[in-house]
Amino acid sequence: MTGAHWQVGAGALPRWLHPGAWWAWALGLAAAASRTTNPLLLLLIIAVAAFVVSARKPDAPWARSFGFFLRLGIIVVAVRVLIQVMFGAAIGTTVLLPLPGIALPTWLAGVRLGGDVMLESILMAFYDGLRLATILVCIGAANSLASPSRLLKSVPAALYEVGVSVVVALTFTPQLVIDVTRVRSARHLRGRPTKGVRAIAGAAMPVFEGALDRSVTLAAAMDSRGYGRRGSQSASQRKGSAALLLIGLVAACIGSYGLVAAGSPLLMDAPMLAFGIIACVTAITWSARGSVRTRYRPDPWWMSEWLVAGAGILAAACFLAARWWMPMSLDTAFDPPAWPTLPVLGLIGVAAAITPAFTAPPIPATVVLARTEEPEWQVAR
């Protein structure tokens, strides 16, 4: 048994890595990206995320979201640059493209429309958009590496009800899509339009009725299978622990945001984070004591999980440290434009972040998805 606990990487038995570990890694990487506008570092982070995803991505419908997030990132950069060109304040002196512009009067906040396109302002917008895109790509990586339903299975007992509602909502969404296409096909069969406002209004009623029917059936099925059996805890105790957990989570979020985002006093954030963590732990142990529920094959947290989560945290720590000791190395000057440099600490962080591609255990044999791939009724053009 101990052997399996310590095995990492390709030598380990194929299994799903704890989804919490993937999220810790991805959030660490995102935190690192949020500290820098250095395009070289940002592109390296995107490359690292893509590499790890390609190495450990399962063949499941939810795992295909990475490509979507990559495209979203490109759109974000493009929109950011476009907005800068159209409305942004003029920065710098290098004119790339002379264009006429209108300066709106001061009572309209002095917004400028159009005007010369400056290299400096484009660079600034590009760096800024790239940072946001990188953060999105990191989130996308977590999304495609960790199954959302497995993550929900790991929610503590105090949040069990919330977890179940999210799972049910997740399974309902594809069903709703199927319903919509089915009802649209039925409209086609009656010779009615399948597009336009009236079509949507006509289709809405049957779809909602169907969803309502299904939720009633599902509730009956869950009740018959023992959902909500009484434990030794009273309802008020259960609510109390859930409330404590939520408060703790919010406090921990505010605290860690403050620590990550520069500008707020350290003395306020650190106690906030500490309070949040203590509240969460208390709530979880409290609710676990009285719960009847048990968990089937919970995901273990072994050496691989520590290594993956640790890699993300190390990456974030490197960038935070770099921001502390040599802040200039993480920013790239755009006025006047200068070539970005590659700071050593940043490189160490990126190198740490790529290790999960090797330390995470291989994923289990792929799942056959023949029938899910089949698109539902498609309405003729």
Binding site: A60, L189, P193, M205, D223, G226, A380
Partner: protein
């Protein structure tokens, strides 16, 4: 195991009780079949067994229901979850998790069983129901038969003493239905589980039952007895029983095997007679209503139809049969233009259906989908009929007149959702027929229909064929195909594997042969009414059938 003591259940707002003065005792290891018409109170009886009625549905319950000593009045369904497992009618609507293995474990997680126990029971159940190959599959990717077995397995892992199933085979093809029933048999025989089962397709299940409960409806007293006793008197019976009644066999056979043994004299009597031809008055229409040539349809990379060629003319009734997922629905969808072809062509009324829109489409072809309710959008039957007249460009009142013909008992002010399954199907049919499409397609029309409604549908389809409509129905119901079809097309893996007259295709097939054909093979008799038409007077003279009025 389960005791009903003078139970009366009345739903709130109802004038009459759904069940009244029920006294019932179910023992351990029994397989009990509950039969009755739609809306007779079968489902109420089943749901009362784990407290869903009245805890979940509302209404009042008088008397007592004891399940293994626990009173359902004081125990809501969740507190009975370790004793009674309920499998809902539509398995996919009751799934909570997203993969097979997690779904099997869900009930045990709620009961708080130890992880080692859960692990062992999941493995045992995977083997018991033959699900091991599917353990990691997402539930939505399973076929209907597999989903049904998973949903049985999901309640079995809690080791309930009673298993309650509502129409477990209604959506399944004959093969998948046999698999599910075999699994249930095994539970009863090997594990001593009490199984309570409601089902309309008696021909599939009656031979497995130890006892039958007939629910007459209208709060009449239940009829409880051995299958042979109840079948002798019940107004609904599978074809093999009707044949036995007609021929006056005693004891009444419930299985094809028993009937074959008793059928010697009947077969002798039939020598020299031929089954009535299933040809249509006036022969077939001359022009093809639909003509598919090498039609191929793909879903992504997976072919759903491979080079299918098929022509249907007016006056034909074609039964499209085959496993769940064989491509039956896809073929219907391609004919109405809901699916693009990836090769070959399909011409509906001489035109490419992908280009047909609006009135042009509804005048060429009509499809009643698997869920007839999808077609209905209005809030009352009358509004629905008016909308259908407008869609079809028909005279005002056309649809309402059609509906009056098909289903005389439907009320104008009723909401379509409140109609029974059968009425909803007939309303959808009326809506489609308003445009007088020469070609009519039906997808699984008898799912959830009881025998009387099915008989009504058969009459309607025969009349339409006689009036020159071409009809194609995709169905799992071999008895329906035997009753109404002039031609049977069997699909497998998207290819046509058989296409011929009904008798030629079904008599020799072990899977698609109706019960009467199995009993009277090798002669091609398909239905009780065929036999009655040929030698009815002879039979009536030589025997005195116990309840001849139940036939025909």
């Amino acid at each position: 195991m389960i005791r009903f003591e003078d139970v009366t259940i009345t739903y709130s707002g109802a004038t009459r009780p759904a069940l009244s003065n029920v006294n019932l005792r179910l023992d351990e290891g029994e397989l009990v079949l509950v039969v009755g018409r739609t809306g007779s109170g079968k489902t109420t009886l089943l749901r009362a067994m784990n407290g869903l009625v009245p805890h979940f549905t509302g209404g009042t319950l008088s008397g007592r229901i004891l399940v293994d000593g626990r009173d359902t009045a004081t125990h809501p369904p969740r507190e009975l979850a370790d004793l009674v497992g309920v499998v809902p009618q539509d398995p996919s609507s009751g799934f909570v998790a997203d993969t097979v293995e997690e779904e099997l474990a869900y009930g045990m997680e709620c009961l708080g069983l130890a992880p080692e126990v859960m692990r062992r029971r999941v493995e045992e159940t995977l083997d018991l129901l033959g699900l091991n190959d599917l353990r990691n599959r997402p539930l939505l990717s399973l076929s209907a038969g597999q989903q049904q077995r998973v949903s049985i397995g999901a309640v079995l892992t809690s080791h309930p003493k009673v298993l309650v199933l509502d129409e477990p085979t209604s959506a399944l093809d004959p093969g998948a239905a046999e698999e599910v029933l075999a699994a249930l048999q095994r539970l009863v025989h090997d594990l001593g589980v009490t199984v309570v089962l409601a089902e309309h397709r008696l021909e599939r299940v009656v031979q497995f039952a130890d006892r039958v409960i007939f629910v007459p409806g209208d709060a009449q007293p239940l009829v409880i007895g051995t299958p042979a006793e109840v079948m002798r008197l019940a107004p609904i019976a599978p074809p093999v029983v009707e044949l036995g009644r007609l021929a006056g066999w005693s004891p009444l056979p419930l299985t094809v095997r028993d009937a074959r043994r008793a059928a010697g004299p009947l077969r002798d009597l039939l020598v020299g007679h031929t089954p009535p031809l299933r040809a249509i008055n006036g022969g077939l229409g001359s022009e093809a209503l639909v003509e598919a040539t090498d039609l191929t349809v793909r879903y992504g990379q997976r072919p759903a139809l491979r080079s299918v060629s098929l022509t249907i003319r007016g006056g034909e009734v074609v039964a499209l049969m085959g496993r769940n997922g064989a491509g039956k629905s896809t073929l219907l969808h391609a004919i109405v233009g809901l699916r693009a072809s990836a090769g070959g062509s399909v011409l509906t009324g001489g035109k490419d259906p992908r280009n047909l829109r609006g009135a042009e489409l509804v005048h060429a072809v009509g499809l009643v989908p698997q869920e007839p309710g999808d077609l209905l959008e209005a809030t009352t039957v009358a509004d629905e009929c008016r909308a259908a007249d407008r869609d079809a460009g028909a005279d005002h009142g056309t649809t309402r007149a059609l509906l009056a013909l098909l289903a005389p008992d439907v009320n104008d002010t009723t909401h379509p959702r409140d109609l029974s399954e059968g009425q909803r199907l007939l309303l959808a049919l009326a809506v489609i027929l308003a445009a007088r499409p020469p070609l009519l397609l039906l997808d699984e029309p008898t799912r959830g229909l009881d025998y009387p409604t099915k008989a009504r549908l058969v009459e309607v389809l025969r009349d339409l064929a006689r009036a020159g409509h071409g009809i194609m129905l995709a169905t799992h119901d071999v008895e329906l195909a035997a009753e109404v079809a002039t031609r049977v097309v069997v699909l497998a893996e998207g290819e046509i594997v058989a296409d011929g007259s009904t008798a030629d295709v079904v008599v020799s097939s072990p899977m698609f042969a109706p019960q009467v054909a199995k009993v009277l093979a090798p002669e091609p008799w398909l239905t009780v009414s065929d036999v009655l038409a040929a030698i009815g007077p002879l039979l009536l003279r030589s025997h005195a059938p116990t309840s001849g009025d139940a036939v025909g």
